[in-house]
Assembly symmetry: C2
Homo-oligomer: 113 residues x 2
């Protein structure tokens, strides 16, 4: 398992791009989806996820829609147009970052990726 420090800074990138790809999702669903896709390697904690979702909503990058499932509630999140732009931007930033790391860590790293 890789160190969790690396995940820092990528959470919003993951949320925005996952939501853009999957359409609307609710918080718990996001944790399960990420866990499944990553083969259990990435487990988003609720203490990180929920505040992050709230911040994205407050910044107008996500909108919410509350749905009642029996007596429980679900808050579905959808990416706004502004959020879509940021999703792309974050994706590019991450790609740039990885390419830069390739340079700095080369030649050893290049062979691993």
């Amino acid at each position: 398992m890789y160190s969790k420090e690396l995940v820092k800074g990528t959470l919003k990138t993951i949320i925005l791009n996952l939501l853009e790809e999957q359409g609307k999702m609710y918080g718990y669903e996001i944790t399960q989806k990420v866990r499944a896709i990553s083969d259990g390697k990435l487990v988003l904690t609720e203490g990180a996820l929920y505040p992050s979702l709230h911040a994205l909503e407050a910044d107008g990058l996500l909108t919410t829609e509350t749905v009642n499932i029996g007596k429980r509630i679900r808050k579905y999140y959808t990416v706004t147009a502004k959020g879509g732009s940021l999703a792309q931007e974050k994706m590019n930033e991450f790609a740039d970052f990885v390419n830069m790391m390739k340079l700095v860590l080369s030649p050893k790293f290049s062979t691993q990726i």
Copy 2:
């Protein structure tokens, strides 16, 4: 320019692997080398670098050798055997992390890297 949050958690990975590749280096030299290799995209701040070097030394991952250059001093850092193992480990962790991100962000990300 990518967001600086991404760099968080990669500083020790960079230091250890750069030192392993380049042999002994001193702090200021590390900042200049990283800046040059990354084409100015990654500029290590002194406030991050020096405390990190001290922590690595305290943990027995680096050893130091102080040299007088005229009336100034230089502290050369060298990777220990233990530091070499961690360098490799950190490299693997980072590669694993990137591969995991590829999964989570795919299919969009795969085409960019």
